[in-house]
Amino acid sequence: MSGKKIKVVLAKPGLDGHDRGVKVIARSLVEHGMEVVYLGLQQTPEAIVNAAIEEDADVIGLSVLSGSHMTQFKRVRELMLEHGIGDRLLTGGGIIPDKDRDRLVELGIGRLFGPGADIDEIANYIKEWAESRSAGTAET
């Protein structure tokens, strides 16, 4: 079981108490062999990026069901770039209208998943991203 594992930091930013979805995602990513650091509810963007740095996470996943996705995803992305971890994947999900989704993707944020998304598809998306990244850098 040694060798590189995909490490994912999962969090719910802001004032949003609906954590059932993110827990299901956490569980299924673990079942796909990933190491998932779960931060829980009411996280600030600063705390999330700080955790991603210390954990050397490949992926940050945010769950936002409160409607504040534009602010939260944008801020986390800004902080990632500011702190020099812009090469990691920022992805996530929630109740996000298509037009917002497009705007977020333009900001360099990865795919965003909505209600009814297939869990295996999310895991496979992360795996494919990680493969293309390691192919690029030939690192760990």
Partner: protein, 331 residues
């Protein structure tokens, strides 16, 4: 060092690490987790940077509040001016190889504090309550300049005692209502605690646990020079009793230092380290000499169906190794 410097370990990475980059620090820990081939190079370079941080293990059965105790102890140590790294280990699923690392949830007080570095590790191949990379991660944080390194194990039962080999001091955390567990733990982990802490002391049943522990300590009282370990109570989620815990940790560190025990622990770790590398090297050499791995796999498969004992094969293999060695010496 006969290894070629690796491309992954760029001079920039080391330079950033020395200048206090948390990204570089986190990266080195990952490399030690993922790349055993780089261990000698990384660890060799970390050695001169280490300043002898004190390593404190926090262990105990699942659910007693190890993460909460770790967080509360971190708060106390920060007030006293210590810098800290926390290594929090959670179990890897033997089925999927994945891991749910949830210890950070209980450690949110220290966000944004540059004097605290928290890292979660999945236990991976480790079966003794730690990840195999734990002692190496501790070396990284020592070299990074942290004063204390708190190592929180996975919830342990009876024999997960890896933590003993890689820390200076062990805090064993228990909770009320675990009288029977103490009986079960007696043989293994009960001997490991340098400090005993009953957490959740705001819940009923504390006296019973204290009584059981005192009884166990009493059984050792006849041994010459025996001093029972400190026995404390706290409610880490409110912080009650945690300043006493912190003071006791400081006292035990001072005592161990005075008695030369910290130095002895370091010597033991180095000895174990050398032994493990030699074992690895010999195993490696042996595999090269005899190309044994595929052969072992094949023989095991044959034996599985035959009901025969493996010992004749083992004897044959041993004599082959002896012959190879003689051959080596002659040539």
């Amino acid at each position: 060092m006969n290894t070629q410097p690796s491309r992954v370990l760029s001079p920039e990475l080391w330079e950033q690490f020395r200048q206090g980059s948390r990204i570089a620090c986190a990266r080195l820990v990952s490399l030690l987790e993922n790349r055993p081939d780089l261990h000698p190079e990384i660890r060799h370079r970390l050695f001169p940077l280490q300043r002898g941080a004190v390593r404190i293990g926090i262990t105990g059965p699942p659910g007693v509040g190890k993460s909460t105790v770790t967080s509360a102890l971190t708060r106390q140590a920060r007030v006293a001016g210590h810098t800290l790294a926390v290594i929090a280990v959670d179990p890897t699923s033997p089925f999927s190889g994945g891991a749910f690392l949830g210890d950070r949830i209980r450690m949110q007080d220290h966000i944004g504090d540059p004097g605290v570095f928290i890292r979660s590790l999945a236990s991976r191949d480790g079966h003794g309550g730690l990840s195999p990379a734990t002692p190496y991660a501790a070396e990284v944080f020592d070299a990074f300049g942290m004063d204390w390194i708190l190592i929180e194990t996975v919830g342990v039962g009876q024999a997960e005692l890896d933590v003993l080999n890689c820390v200076d001091i062990v805090i064993l955390v228990l909770q009320p209502g675990t009288g029977d567990i103490i009986q079960a733990l007696k043989a293994g982990i009960m001997e490991a605690g340098d400090i005993f802490l009953i957490n959740k002391a705001d819940q009923p049943g504390v006296d019973m646990v204290l009584d059981s522990l005192r009884f166990i300590f009493q059984m050792d009282a006849h041994r010459p020079g025996y001093v029972p370990p400190p026995l404390l109570t706290a409610a880490a989620h409110t912080g009650t009793g945690m300043s006493e815990v912190f003071e006791t940790v400081e006292q035990v560190i001072a005592k161990f230092r005075r008695e030369g025990r910290l130095r002895e622990k370091r010597r033991q770790r180095l000895e174990q380290d050398i032994r493990e590398y030699i074992q690895q090297e010999l195993w490696h050499r042996y595999l090269q000499l005899t190309d044994a791995q595929p052969e072992i796999t094949r023989v095991a498969r044959e034996l599985t169906d035959s009901g025969r004992s493996p010992f004749p094969y083992i004897e044959q293999l041993k004599s082959r190794i002896r012959m190879e060695r003689n051959h080596d010496q002659e040539s």
